[in-house]
Amino acid sequence: MKIDFKNLRLKQKIILIAVASASIALLPACLMFILYERETFPKIMLKNLSNLAQLVGDNSNAALSFNDPKTAQDILNTLKTNPHILSACLYDAQGKVFARFPDNQREIQALGPAERVEKNEITPLSAKLYHVILSGRETAGVLFLESDMKEMDSRVSSYTTMTILVWVFSFLVSFLVASRLQKYVSEPLRQVVDRMKDIARGEGDLTKRLQVHGTDEIGEVSESFNTFVGKLQNVDEMKLGLISVVSHQLKTPVAEINGYIENMLEGVAGELTPRQKKYLESMKGIGQDNYRLISDLLSASKIERGVIAVDLKPVSIKQVVEISVRDYEASIRRKGLSLRLEGMDSDFMIMADKDKTVETLRNVLNNALKCTDKGTISIRVENEPEKGVIEVEDTGIGMSDETMEKLFTKSRMLGKEAGRAGAGLGLYIARSFMKLQKGDIVVRSQIGKGSCFRLELPKLIEGEGAQA
């Protein structure tokens, strides 16, 4: 199993670091523990063996002094009770074998004078010990004991098991502790990251601030991030302020210019040559576009700053459609499209802000015109039990589901596509206006086939109109 440390979540990294360092730190201690035991245990074992030799030697003293091998044999046979003693041999003062355990047939060499000294030897399989038995000041004999190392082996293995258990336990404990404590580090950071992602996606509310926990680096990150968001907010406000001031200043002059162009086209300033008329027609189109853009900008900045107000009054739905269509009839015809109006024979009243509904419908019509090259643009008025509906259907390019998803959000507002396809304000304003009027705007569309935008507004309820 290979862990790609780089791509682990911070949470996992912290746990991994804690567990790894606890385990690694404990490893030398555990090893030392085992090694120490391996080192000291043979000494303890030799000491025990030597104590045993002392005891047995002392007991066999008289047997050696008074030449009684039978008693000596009895004494050695008591070693049977010690399962670790492999063999034992009692030599007399001359080094001759006096008694032995177990009492088997194998020949044992006599001990030379040089061998009749205290000595011991440890091998991985056994511990051997020669013990000189003193009787008063004289050597009465030598006792040889051989013990196996099973005791040591079992002890070392039990120590090893214990050490491993301790190790596993500390591993688990550090895992649990790290799992619990990691959130103090990773949680605030995750909040920062989440907020960053929101803002990058253009959805975050710039007026909100992160809660700062503590003064450590993470606290600093949160704080710096808050400062950063504050600056972003300032820029955003400045942008909106600028837009609002500029569009406000431009709106009236553009409207006046449009009025003069209208007058001139109507012949107020005298007869026009066909050429003059053609130029004025173009100017009129451009003027209308400019006016719409400026109104949109102003509306958007107002929506953004939350300073927009609606003035709901009973409005004739037919009138709203007529006002909106009037500006587009010529353009639609010029583009070779046909315009169809349905459900316009009967009129009814809706509760709406007339200007805002007109602006919404104009935006929808503008889009339909822009996105349709041939076919028909249909405007349908429907009288539903509780609401009035205006549908604008075209036979244009349609749009993908992804486009539809973000259609009414401000994420496209003055974005990358601004200028090419438009400022990206139209539908955002449409949705905002409709919501403000307790209505709604929805879309259905099929790519290549066309789109249909449906505006819904509450109908005037009897009795309400009398007051208005």
């Binding site: 007991n59 008289a62 008693t71 001359q94």
Partner: protein, 185 residues
């Protein structure tokens, strides 16, 4: 032939060394026993003149040990007591006081007829009496050398020893036969 010679010498030596141990005579073994008794028997404090006064091993009657006993005890010290050997040719009544100065008294076979007399003269003293005379324990003696096959065994009269305020180590008793008077009427 010349090349083999050193090995032959070594071989001879190797055969000779253990042979010397095996060929220890009966009385050198018994002298060693006599000396060893000093280590396995406890005397009351008043048995010695002082802490460093010698521990006397007496041989009464015809001495069967010869040099062997002197060789064994030479330079030996038990506790703080140096070992000395005292010899008495034969028992005479006037000697009783001198015999009582011994801590261990070996009564030779030659004194068999006077054994009872000797033992009674030692009544009340703390002398460990040792002998090879048959039925020595029955007579009131404390330790008897008892030839049992190859091994020289011991028979101990615990009662007699106790009466003389001697403490015979359990280890010594372990390698001895204990004399039981009721069995030998």
């Amino acid at each position: 032939m010349k090349r083999i010679k050193p090995y032959a010498v070594l071989l001879a030596l190797a055969c000779f060394l253990p042979a010397r141990g095996a060929g220890i005579s009966e009385y050198s073994v018994k002298s060693a026993y006599l000396f060893n008794f000093a280590k396995f028997v406890g005397w009351p404090a008043n048995a010695f003149e002082n802490e460093k006064s010698p521990l006397n091993i007496g041989v009464l009657g015809e001495d069967p040990f010869g040099e062997a006993l002197d060789e064994v005890v030479e330079g030996k010290i038990v506790g703080q007591h140096p070992i000395t050997v005292l010899r008495f040719d034969r028992f005479e009544t006037g000697q009783a006081e001198r015999l009582r100065k011994c801590q261990i008294l070996f009564i030779a076979y030659s004194e068999k007829p006077r054994a009872l007399q000797i033992l009674s003269s030692l009544q009340g003293s703390s002398v460990l009496t040792v002998s090879e005379i048959e039925k020595f324990p029955l007579l009131g003696g404390m330790i008897m050398f008892n030839q049992a096959g190859k091994r020289i065994g011991l028979v101990v009269n615990v009662k007699a020893a106790k009466k003389a305020k001697l403490e015979i180590s359990a280890k010594l008793l372990q390698v001895s036969k204990i004399f039981k008077p009721e069995r030998q009427p």
